[in-house]
């Protein structure tokens, strides 16, 4: 048989119907749901008199517009409250498991899926959210979908899809101290551009990826969509199985061993061919900072703000010019001279326990600069409890960071955590689009270590030199 990629294996195993000239009907093993993109889908079901085909394969939580302050208080944003209520109503009407605001399992949908063991190798997963790609870190084919597709999956447990192209990104070698998974993915996006992965599913491979923990692999897969890719994945290995053992929804005992045997077969075959491939040498990577208004506008922390006149095309020149006006930076400015007003440590990219440990390590025994307001928002209630058990909250609080309840928070500012116009933020999230964290706000994407260091110094610093 022709050697197959991991994508092909998972895809082929989920075909319900594939006929030339038609979209493929692909079976979906797990559907994750949140409050912002689902109300119209449930309403559509009701209008058509349809049911949810597999409520037991559907899991919901509230994350996007939940407050991160005291949960015992009523939600002050009435429209957000309505969306949250609507999700609760829909879940009870259609029989879907919901981890609501007061559940000990609540959190950002892409944090709790893996945490609960819902995310597993070889599964097809969807969620009405582009960062669904995160789940690929465990070897799932996880695709972000829109609201009409949510309704389609609710009604049929299937998705209509065209087969994607495949893209192998191979990363070899050892990362330098202070260089993280976030820096890997930011530099990849810088290289291939924010449209570089469009139409493809990325498979990450190589010794660097193998050496990453599952949480670090999640950071890489999470931002695959920022390169335009439909999904990103890493073939499962012992690291994956160790992570999955004993999680709530993981198979147990003998069933787990049988699952591992099956999961082992997901690895791409020797000689499998990809539509596109690139290789990256980990040794050449430095901590990254974005300077513009999309994640591809990024440079090494030792770099400078680029000059629009150096851009190869007129379109790019105009885009850079617009971006620099928006972020209010002058060409040639050293990134380490850029001062920040706010720091946000959180989001489905970097809000897991290892991210918080890394940030706390950087902040330990120091003080947030008096000019900076800094916020730490754990990705889930479970992460929050774990961090508190380890005393990380104490380290952050002592340094002057605010410590919050779990949610998306300032990643997209649908709740009260937003930037004011003109404020500049070092953020561990995934999008620095205009207005993403609040109208007129300026976002610089960095790793948790870089964010913590910026909070303390008041400007960006090269964490490789951090004592």
């Amino acid at each position: 048989m022709k050697p197959r990629t991991m994508f092909e294996k998972i895809w082929n195993a989920h075909i319900v119907r594939e006929v030339p000239g038609e979209a493929t009907i692909l079976y979906i093993d797990t559907h994750l749901v949140h409050e912002v993109t689902s109300p119209q889908a449930f309403e559509g079901l009701r209008l058509a008199g349809r049911k949810v085909r597999c409520p037991h394969l559907t899991f919901a939580t509230m994350d996007h517009n939940v407050p991160t302050t005291d949960r015992s208080l009523p939600i002050t944003d009435l429209i957000a409250a309505k969306q949250i209520e609507t999700l609760a109503k829909n879940c009870s009407e259609f029989g879907i498991t919901l981890y609501d605001l007061h559940s000990a399992k609540q959190g950002i949908v892409h944090v709790i899926g893996p945490e609960l063991g819902i995310t597993q190798p070889g599964k097809t997963m969807v969620c009405g959210d582009s960062h669904t790609s995160t789940h690929g870190a465990l070897g799932a084919l996880a695709i972000g979908i829109g609201t009409s597709e949510i309704e389609h999956v609710l009604a049929t447990q299937c998705l209509l899809q065209q087969r994607s192209k495949t893209f192998e990104i191979n990363i070899e070698g050892q990362l330098s101290h202070g260089v993280t998974a976030k820096d890997i993915i930011l530099s990849i996006i810088g290289k291939i551009g924010i449209g570089g992965g469009t139409g493809t599913v990325v498979e990450y491979s190589g010794s660097t990826i193998r050496s990453l923990s599952i949480e670090e692999r999640m950071t890489v897969c999470n931002m695959s969509i920022e390169a335009g890719a439909r999904a990103g994945m890493v073939a499962p290995d012992d690291t994956t199985y160790e992570y999955l053992a004993d999680r709530e929804f993981s198979p147990k005992g003998e069933a787990f061993n049988r699952a591992v045997e099956r999961w082992n077969r997901l690895r791409p075959d020797e000689g499998a061919s990809y539509d596109k491939s690139i290789s990256i040498d980990a040794k050449t990577l430095a901590p990254q900072v974005t300077w513009g208004t999309n994640p591809g506008m990024v440079t090494d922390v030792t770099g400078v703000v680029p000059d629009p006149d150096d851009m190869p095309t007129l379109d790019e020149k105009n885009a850079v010019q617009r971006a620099l006006e928006y972020v209010n930076l002058t060409p040639g400015t050293q990134m380490t001279d850029v001062q920040v007003d706010r720091v946000f440590i959180g989001s489905c990219t970097n809000s897991r326990i290892t991210d918080l440990r890394a940030a706390a390590e950087t902040a330990k025994g120091r003080k947030v600069a008096p000019t900076v307001n800094a916020l730490v928002v754990p990705g889930s209630q479970a992460v929050k409890r774990q961090a508190e058990a380890e005393g990380l909250d104490g380290i952050f609080r002592a340094a002057g960071f605010e410590w919050r309840e779990a949610g998306c928070s300032m990643c997209l500012g649908m709740n009260p955590d937003i930037l004011m116009p003109g404020q500049r933020c070092a953020s561990t999230s995934n999008r620095n689009f205009e207005g993403r964290q609040g109208k007129g706000g300026r976002t610089h994407l960095v790793s948790p270590q870089m964010a913590a260091a910026a909070a303390i110094a008041g400007h960006f610093v090269d964490v490789r030199t951090w004592e």
Binding site: N65, G146, S148, G195, N294, R431
Partner: protein, 197 residues
Amino acid sequence: MEPFRKHTGLCVPLNRINVDTDQIIPKQFLKRIERTGFGAYLFHDWRFLDTGELNPDFVLNAPRYQGASILVAGTNFGCGSSREHAPWALQDYGFAAVIAPSFGDIFRNNCYKNGLLPVVLSEDISADLIRQIEAQEVYRLTIDLESQKVIQSDGTAHAFEIGDFQRQCLLNGLDEIGWTLQFESSIAEYESGREVY
């Protein structure tokens, strides 16, 4: 869904690359639980000044482009988030089609599901169309999905590609859920052979 066969309409140029869905419809407007009413917030942060007044410098606000139904934009239009509110807003505002050299994948899928036609034309042709639209007070294009052509008023036609299935869905205004449910027995058969643990 309303079928899309052939549409003639006034064009407006949005000469920017990488227009993301956060710009098409900013997050503060995603809290509605309906599919309608998003047009008022389309391109909100570009279209309105901080005072809430229309920004006279934003192209959509120019008097000559009022009533436009075809948007011609730069490469990678609709990148970013999966929010279907983006095509809902474009459609609610009055757009029937968007022409660009490339689109974000999820955005493009979301367009198909709503009968908003994303048309891929090469960078050269798109750029040339933008120049023509800017140069002419009233510029209309016809998009014929049946023959897969974008036709200028002087008769010049540009062919575009679209998947057979998407094309059929759009031409017939097909309910995809209904379509998939015809194969209910195949789904049930798949489910019975599926490994569960």
